[in-house]
């Protein structure tokens, strides 16, 4: 596997896959997978995003001839999964339970095949400082940071701790919950006076904050999909926005301009693809992931975070990368489902 941003190569050309269902086709591609259950919704703060992701993926899978049912996660989940016996489950739950590994634990418990990383790996990625430490150990750059629980501010005095952070990391800073996505609870702090408010916003989403040095540069998202010969990076997507790439910017078309592929030199494209694939491998991820990073003027990509259940909405980055690679979403998603089937025994 080279580290260049090659498109995923399907066993069968993605664009040539027939849209109609069938147990097999004359080209010899795998038979249509059995029924797939897409898990979406749940009770996390990202429920709305998850529902949108679920609908989009289900729509694409149906276009690829796959039988799909979208199911919201509630107290009946186990009964539903036992009764429906899906061939593959695709957990598209964003936020807690979806990305922290717990739903995947349940799927393992039931012996069901599923798309995406295993519970332990998901748990590591979900906890941003754990993932950052793993990346640093693998020689992948990530902004300097501290992780502090709310209780510590109470025990040591909030202002004292805030001053110490600024002294060590400088300004500007980015404050974010250690767990969570969609930029919920994330604030960029330009001035010391804004720091306390950023902490309050962050702690509304969780009890522990990750505070890291803000890195300026080209904002990129590099998606990785497992192909037959290993993980491969899709073309990087560049995000250009006047303000913060916050929740509003992420899920409303318009305020953000995306460049897919990103406006990078071939060397830079290869470099960021290499970082994303290494991150995917370092953390033991499976099937798909998305690595968000900044390419600063220094030229060394700095990883902000990694997602095991990246958004699949109309404005999300992984679907844009698939299209930029010249592939079609139905074919790629179907291939991910097919790839998940053997994972039951893996």
């Amino acid at each position: 596997m080279t580290s260049t941003a090659r498109a995923v190569s399907s066993p069968v050309d993605a664009r040539s896959r027939p849209d109609t269902s069938g147990m097999s086709d004359p080209s010899g591609s795998p038979p249509t997978p059995g029924p797939v259950v897409v898990l979406a919704g749940g009770l996390s703060h990202e429920r709305d995003v998850s529902l949108r992701s679920g609908r989009r993926v289900a729509e694409a899978l149906r276009a690829a001839g796959v039988e799909v049912q979208v199911h919201d996660v509630d107290a009946d989940l186990l009964t539903f999964l036992r009764d429906s016996q899906p061939a593959v489950v695709w957990p598209l739950l964003h936020g807690a339970s979806g990305e922290d590994g717990s739903i995947r634990d349940v799927l393992e418990l039931l012996g069901l095949a599923y798309v995406g990383s295993g519970p332990r790996e998901s748990r590591a990625v979900w906890n941003k400082p754990v993932a950052k430490a793993a990346l640093l150990s693998a020689g992948i750059d990530t902004p300097p940071y501290v992780t502090l629980p709310q209780a510590l501010f109470r025990d040591l005095g909030a202002q004292t701790v805030l001053d110490a952070i600024i002294e060590r990391l400088g300004l500007p800073l980015v404050v974010k919950p250690v767990q969570g996505g969609s930029a919920l609870g994330v604030t960029r702090v330009e001035h010391a006076a804004d720091f306390p408010r950023a902490m309050v916003n962050c702690f509304a989403y969780g009890d522990t904050a990750l505070i890291e040095r803000a890195v300026d540069g080209v904002e990129l998202a590099v998606s990785v999909i497992d192909a037959a010969d290993g993980p491969r990076a899709l073309p990087a997507v560049e995000i250009v926005t006047d303000g913060a790439y916050d929740y509003d910017a992420r899920y409303n078309p318009g305020p953000v301009e995306y460049f897919a592929p990103a406006r990078l030199s071939p060397e830079q494209a290869a470099q960021v693809a290499d970082v994303a694939v290494r991150a995917h491998r370092t953390l033991g991820l499976r099937h798909l992931s998305r690595t968000d990073m900044i390419l600063p003027p220094s030229g060394v990509p700095s990883v902000l975070e990694i997602n095991v259940a990246p958004g699949m909405t109309e404005t999300s980055l992984l679907p844009q990368a698939v299209v930029a690679a010249g592939l079609e979403l139905p074919a790629v998603y179907r291939e991910l489902v097919e790839r998940a089937v053997p994972s039951r025994s893996a």
């Binding site: 009770l43 916050d246 318009g254 953000v256 897919a260 030199s265």
Partner: protein, 435 residues
């Protein structure tokens, strides 16, 4: 970078084509959080949804079946732009309970009173015109005014509703500034969100002030018949036929699913409203109108309103009692009717930034900033008592108290305070969660 890169995309080829009035029509973090509030695990004290389970559904079902059998060809056909005459006649009986004397010809039936608001604003408000409204005011009305590019100026209230002297001073100041005030938008009974009622004494005063300043009064009265103490006060429209547009609704007293509301307006205004409505929707739903008409004709709607009043009073008492027990550090009013209690949070707390914590704690409310046009209200939240049972209300307040206490500790720790919403368009679009 190399020159052959493809151009960027904003994922919406029409991004540059939207009208200015579409600004703010977008998904927001707050709206996303409300997606969780709809789940049964969450005690939602947010939405203004009436307790439909309290209706005699079997009786209504039979009446609607009979309607389709006997009047199906009318019910399923286009109708009159002004609305079905038989329903307009019955609306006159309903509004008479609040002292309104009108003729069926004065009534225009609309798709919920939300459409009435839209039509009134459409025919009266040009971009830049001023609408005066109570502080705070109904989020759905603010959204309509914003979509017509009006400016909203709030006037304060006290426990007896809008302050006449403040209204007079505001209208005088705006006139001196050369601003054109077109409407006073007011919810005189059990106001949404503040729960207060305009006192009988102030009603003629408000009308006199508006008449003197040449300002048309839009009286929005969805809750007038849902008082807990005695007969309803006379509507503003009962004092003035020419200077008041009366907006009514069956959404709170019967069922919002039918989307039937109405306007009672002077002749010339009524004509324009009918034309505006026809251009928007051709005609309100005949099926819905005839269903409401059948309900009013065959069911004990007065008895149902009485049952609703008793049920909602019990729920209000549950909410007030639970607040007193679990949230003594907050302050609130005790409404004499309607659906809502307006709660002032302990010093420094910000209802909007606290909402994620509340959702995590499985309880929901509407932050006060939704009810102001100018970003104020962060120190308040609206709690509704109409939908959850008393037991769920008490559980919701218990959860809310934990959330407030945790937030208070945090605010004290970091020394922050509630601050104006820097993007008051967040919850502009009225949704069922916020109605």
């Amino acid at each position: 970078m190399t020159p052959e890169h493809s151009p960027g995309t904003r994922l919406d080829p029409w991004f540059g084509a939207y009208a200015a009035r579409a600004h703010g029509m977008r998904a927001s973090e707050i709206r996303a959080l409300f997606a969780v509030a709809s789940r049964p695990e969450v005690v939602s004290l947010a939405g203004g949804m009436p307790f439909i389970e309290g209706l005699p559904l079997e009786v209504i079902g039979e009446a609607v079946q009979r309607l389709i059998r006997t009047k199906g060809t009318t019910a399923l056909q286009y109708g009159s732009g002004q609305g079905e005459e038989s329903l307009r006649e019955k609306i006159i009986d309903v509004v008479a309970l609040e002292g309104v004397e009108a003729h069926p010809d004065d009534v225009v039936v609309t798709t919920g009173s939300q459409q009435a608001l839209d039509l009134v604003t459409r025919i009266f408000v040009d971009p830049g015109d001023v609408v005066v409204a109570e502080a705070p005011s109904y989020v759905g009305a603010l959204g309509v005014f914003r979509s017509y590019q009006a400016d909203v100026v709030h006037v304060p209230m006290d426990a007896d509703g809008l302050l006449p002297a403040e209204l007079d001073a505001t209208l005088t100041r705006l006139a001196a500034e050369g601003r054109r005030v077109k409407l006073l938008y007011t919810i005189p009974n059990y106001q949404n969100p503040a729960g207060v009622t305009l006192s009988l004494e102030r009603r003629p005063q408000v009308l006199e002030i508006c008449r003197r300043h040449g300002v048309l009064v839009v009286e929005d009265d969805p809750y007038g018949l849902l008082g807990f103490e005695g007969d309803p006060l006379p509507a503003l429209r009962s004092f003035d036929d020419e200077g008041v547009l009366y907006l009514g609704s069956f959404s709170k007293t019967f069922a919002p699913g039918y989307r039937v509301g109405f306007v009672i307006a002077p002749h010339a205004v009524r004509e324009k409203l009918v034309l505006a409505s026809e251009s928007a929707i051709l005609s309100p739903s005949n099926a819905s109108q005839l269903a409401v008409d059948t309900y009013l004709e065959t069911c004990d709607w007065r008895g149902q309103i009485k049952a609703y009043r008793e049920m909602y009073r019990e729920r209000r008492d549950a909410l007030v009692g639970a607040l007193a027990e679990h949230l003594p550090s907050a302050s609130w009013n005790v409404p004499a009717g309607g659906f809502f209690i307006w709660v002032r949070l302990p010093e420094g707390l910000d209802a909007k930034s606290m909402l994620p914590r509340a959702v995590t704690g499985r309880v929901a409310y509407v932050p006060g900033t939704a009810f102001y046009y100018d970003g104020r209200g962060a120190d308040h939240m609206r709690l509704s008592f109409c939908y959850p049972t008393p037991e769920r209300i008490r559980e919701g307040v218990r959860r809310l108290a934990s959330v407030v206490n945790a937030e208070a500790e945090l605010v004290q720790l970091f020394g922050t305070s509630a601050r104006p919403d820097d993007d008051p368009t967040d919850v502009e679009i009225p949704s069922p969660d916020l109605a």
